[in-house]
Amino acid sequence: MIDDLYDERGEEDTTIAMFYCDFRDQQAQTAINIIGAILKQLAVRCEVLEHLRSTFQKAKREVGSRGLRLPDMVQMLKQAVVALPRVFICIDALDECLPKHLLELLRSLKDILGAAPRTRIFLTGRPQVEAEVTRDFAARLMVPISPRRHDIKRYLENKLEMDPEPMAMSDGLRVDILTFIPERISEMCVGASAVPIQCMVLH
């Protein structure tokens, strides 16, 4: 999806920032660090980078040992987003964030969207974080994600092509794999979004 945003932006002056939440890094993935990671990506733009530097210097003079807090970081991101024509912020796997950090992150994004309504925010997560997303973004678009038969077949074909021992596979078994697994898995996943089925073929 991010690649598509890059490919389709054409002449439009677009900046894209992304973040992947990861349960293995939950302690470090605080709202302030995630907002900072998004800012880093916007800082490839000169106008943002210069502004960040001056804000940094100002903060250093004014706040002494207090350091930058989440509201300071959100304010910097607001200013960065407002300075750019079009910004996409994409955050994957919200459910892998600690609840406290997720709440602060979503509040921060809401704040940023309030300052710059043209910003586009893309979020993914398990169905159980829908309540948190809805709480801060009553107006939002939603798409349920489940593996499509075509996608599963494409994945299996690739795995079979990369099989280090192809001679161990008979033509009949190959046909069965490409026929039955896509059917069964797509039947299991479609309409079962609340059931934690591990559709491992898309991993």
Binding site: M1, I2, D3, D4, L5, M18, F19, Y20, D25, Q27, A28, Q29, T30, A31, I32, N33, I34, G36, A37, L39, K40, Q41, A43, V44, C46, R53, F56, K60, G67, L68, R69, A93, L113, P117, R120, I121, F122, L123, T124, R126, A139, R140, L141, M142, V143, P144, I145, S146, P147, H150, D151, R154, Y155, C189, S193, A194, C199, M200, L202, H203
Partner: protein, 104 residues
């Protein structure tokens, strides 16, 4: 990405050390760090490096998988920006392993 915009400024390169605190106090200390790092580091903003993770996802992803998503009305409306703030947020939800991270 244009590396030229990463050029370090020449003033105030007082120290190369930085002190980014961990998640427990949620504060990034600006006293021992310099703003003159390029964006590839910029540890004063965040110690996290999501771009590296994105490269891993790109390598693992198969071309053609998840293309259906790009054809949905929701994605198109969201990307176009024509719906204003009401269509500014797109939330994709699904079970673990459904392919959310690898949407084309």
């Amino acid at each position: 990405m244009d590396q030229a915009v990463y050029a370090h400024s020449t003033d105030n390169a007082s120290t190369n050390s930085y002190n980014v605190t961990n998640s427990h106090n949620n504060v990034i200390n600006v006293n021992n760090i310099t703003p003159d790092e390029g964006p590839e580091n910029m540890l004063w903003l965040s110690p996290l490096d999501p771009v590296r993770r994105h490269q891993d996802v790109r390598i693992d992803r198969l071309d053609g998988v998840g293309n259906w998503f790009l054809e949905t009305n929701e994605f198109r409306e969201w990307r176009s920006g024509e719906g204003g703030a009401d269509k500014a947020v797109l939330f994709c939800y699904g079970s673990p392993g459904a392919g959310k991270t690898y949407l084309r």
